[in-house]
């Protein structure tokens, strides 16, 4: 049962992150996802302090706002300050993360958070943190509900806004010409990434969020050039990564989040070397077989 709970929680987060990640990596915003996942830390700490509990909507909202603020700051320094994008990202998220760590130190007694769980997260605790109603009914792990809810929200967002997201990603000029605001959809996407990051933060940790955001979409990108197929492959890869990662972790007696990232990396490596169209080795073999005839 525990295995099922953990793998489903991992899959939900992986699929949610992966779907958003497809848009991020095609928009060359992979590192913005990384930045948000670190920069929401002060938001999470503040939300803990204000709401006094872990599972409130205030927490999602508060930290979501910090996430959007991060992207606004990055844009601001880049546009108004002429700071190059990568430096703008780097300065902003490290500053906010430092603020978060300092806040944790200041309110160490009131906030039940430590640096370890922030970075690597502890998905192993998923089955322990059950949602129990006042009448004593056990409804299953709380994380499943939170990540399930976020998954539905993000899925709805992508289905409803598919055309707009697609156009602003692939042809922003055309999108603008037919009256779709690129700025609006940029920030909606950023809000979606913030929401996902915050919800996934304590269950899987910042680094696994980044791994889920980037690795399955990048792998799928190497395997197909059709965007809908890339989304579908990402979903499949996300589930495979979660399941294989869990069993790898059990086998090696190590961190589940770490094992899931490792599996995601291995799958990418396989695609990088052997993708039928893009693979480094497949291309080399093809070149060799063509040469004698030429």
């Amino acid at each position: 049962m525990d295995a099922l709970y953990i793998i489903s929680a991992g899959s939900l987060v992986a699929v949610t992150c992966g779907l958003l990640g497809c848009f991020l990596i095609l928009r060359k915003m992979a590192m913005v996802g990384d930045a948000i996942s670190h920069a929401v830390l002060p938001g999470i700490v503040l939300a803990f302090l204000i709401s006094g509990s872990r599972d409130s909507v205030i927490m999602l909202l508060g930290a979501g706002i910090i996430g959007i603020l991060t992207t606004v700051l990055i844009e601001f320094f880049h546009k108004k300050g002429n700071l190059q994008t990568d430096a703008s990202i780097g300065v902003t998220f490290t500053w906010l993360f430092a603020l978060g760590v300092i806040l944790i130190s200041v309110f160490a007694n009131e906030v039940d958070l430590d640096q370890d769980c922030v970075l690597h997260g502890e998905i192993a605790y998923v089955p322990l943190d059950l949602w129990i109603t006042e009448s004593g009914l056990i409804l299953g792990p709380r994380v499943l509900y939170v990540s399930g809810f976020v998954f539905l929200v993000i899925l709805g967002f992508i289905i409803l806004g598919y055309k707009e997201l697609y156009l602003t990603t692939f042809d922003p000029a055309f999108a603008t010409a037919i009256g779709i605001s690129t700025v609006l959809w940029h920030y909606l996407l950023m809000a979606a990434v913030s929401l996902t990051t915050v919800a996934s933060f304590e269950s899987v940790g910042a680094i696994l969020v980044v791994a889920f955001l980037i690795a399955p979409p990048a792998t799928a990108y190497l395997l197909t050039s059709s965007f809908p197929r890339m989304l579908l492959l990402t979903v499949i890869l996300g589930i495979v990564v979660s399941a294989a990662g869990y069993y790898l972790a059990v086998l090696l007696d190590g961190s589940i989040a770490g094992a899931m990232s490792s599996v995601a990396g291995i799958l990418f490596l396989i695609a990088f070397l052997f993708s039928p169209t893009e693979g480094v080795i497949t291309t080399r073999i093809r070149q060799k077989t063509i040469k004698p005839n030429a």
């Binding site: 300092i102 980044v210 990232s261």
Partner: protein, 434 residues
């Protein structure tokens, strides 16, 4: 105050180690960071910082000890490997650099966490404290660490000083460096090596995530104050050193405060302040300059309107009210009013109740702007062969920035045309020469 004196007398060896270590780390990362910043590779530092973790764990697994030399070697190897892999992925596939960085960063770190937890679960007692590499332990620096830091920092400083010219060239113009026969590949490798070294040592003070700040933030702050590389390096080093001392001091005064995050906090504050108040490049400076230009364009446009209205009913002395002006060109009322007031103060307009009238000075200025506008329209249609109905907007912009020298050259080049492409008369002060 007492704290301040105890701290800065550096009598206590502990204070000496923490401060010395933090400052050395901050300075060496700031210097190397300047070059990665200029090469627009600021975030590779972040990737390296995450990628050293598996190296540290592997070194521990293989050697069985926490000897810093082994750990640093392990960290160095995987850190270096991560940069090579990012380069290979970007060159050999359609994956973009930022995706490659994020991918390598999270996968290497994930592998590192997996190894770290395996070591922890194995019950090996020697492993305690291995995870201080994750979060840094500046406040727990001891003499031995300082010796290693100093040696590495001195190597870094020497590297930067010796290869200063070469690094400058590959940072600014790689193609040129290649064309004059520089060993660009080898220099890149040297810079990569120095970056990894800086990250490997720096992580022990500030931790994985904040290491990126030690590289990027001082460089970004310094860049706002200067265009000269040597001064940028110097400033970045000073900012780094200052934040190192401040971080150590804050965690000395308030022991529950973490040193690393405070170092980053201080350097970020320096950077944010620089972004806003630095002369020339600062955001405030730019905003002020923009609003000045906007105001000037507005006042010039108003004078032009008065002149055009004067032309229409051949009476330049006529008093005009707001409605008349807005009928000719819709300018928002508050902006228009403040523009009119400014012009009255400057003596270009005379204010009567609710209406305004051009002064002699105002007439001259309005005339000049109208002339520039129409001259430019002639120039565009005649020399750039742009259709007359497409030239108005461009002329509307250029009329505000043409200097008297350009004006004279335009007049001579076009031989004092009498009318613009829309058959409006071009007004001159001086008689037209034949």
């Amino acid at each position: 105050m007492e704290d301040l004196i105890t701290f800065f007398s550096f009598q206590n060896p502990n204070i000496r180690f923490v401060t010395g270590g933090s400052v050395l780390l901050a300075i060496s990362s700031a210097l190397v960071g300047c070059f990665t910043f200029l090469k627009k590779k600021a975030l590779v530092g972040d990737a390296v910082a995450h990628a050293v973790l598996p190296g540290i764990c592997l070194a521990f697994l293989l050697s069985g000890t926490k000897n810093p030399i082994y750990l640093i070697t392990g960290a160095f190897i995987t850190g270096w490997l991560s940069l090579i892999l990012i380069d290979v992925i970007t060159r050999k596939s359609k994956i973009k650099e930022d995706t490659a960085i994020g991918l390598i960063l999270s996968v290497f770190f994930g592998v590192g966490i997996l190894l770290l937890t395996m070591i922890q679960h194995s019950g090996n007692a020697a492993q305690t404290g291995l995870d201080s590499f994750l979060f840094g332990k500046a406040a727990a620096l001891v003499g031995d660490d300082l010796v290693i830091f100093s040696v590495i920092s001195i190597c870094l400083l020497l590297g930067v000083i010796l290869l200063y010219k070469e690094f400058a060239l590959i940072s600014f113009d790689e193609d040129f460096a290649k064309s004059i026969g520089f060993p660009v590949k080898r220099l890149e490798l040297a810079l990569t090596t120095l970056t990894v070294l800086a990250v490997v040592t720096g992580i022990q003070a500030v931790g994985v995530v904040l290491m990126a700040a030690m590289l990027i933030t001082p460089a970004a702050a310094a860049r706002f104050w200067t265009n000269k590389l040597s001064i940028m390096l110097l400033l970045a080093a000073i900012f780094g050193a200052f934040s190192g001392v401040s971080g150590a001091y804050i965690s000395y005064v308030a022991p529950s405060m973490p040193t690393g995050p405070w170092i980053v906090m201080v350097i970020s504050m320096i950077a944010l302040t620089s972004f806003f108040i630095a002369p020339e490049k600062g955001i405030l400076y730019k905003l002020i300059r923009q609003s000045k230009i906007k105001k000037r364009i507005l006042t010039e446009n108003i004078l032009k309107l008065f002149y055009q209205l004067g032309e229409m009913d051949s009476n330049f002395e006529e008093q005009r009210n707001i409605e008349q002006i807005q009928a000719k060109r819709p300018i928002r009322t508050p902006a228009l009013l403040s523009g009119l007031n400014r012009l009255s103060q400057q003596g270009f307009l005379k204010h009567h109740k609710g209406s305004w009238q051009l002064t002699d000075q105002g007439q001259k200025k309005g005339q000049r702007i109208v002339k520039l506008h129409r001259l430019w329209e002639v120039y565009l249609t005649k020399y750039l062969r742009i259709a007359p109905d497409h030239v108005h907007e461009d002329a509307d912009n250029i009329e505000h920035i043409l200097t008297p020298e350009l004006e004279a050259r335009l007049e001579a080049l076009l031989q004092y045309p009498t009318s613009d492409p829309h058959e409006s008369v071009i007004p001159y002060n001086k008689p037209i020469k034949n």
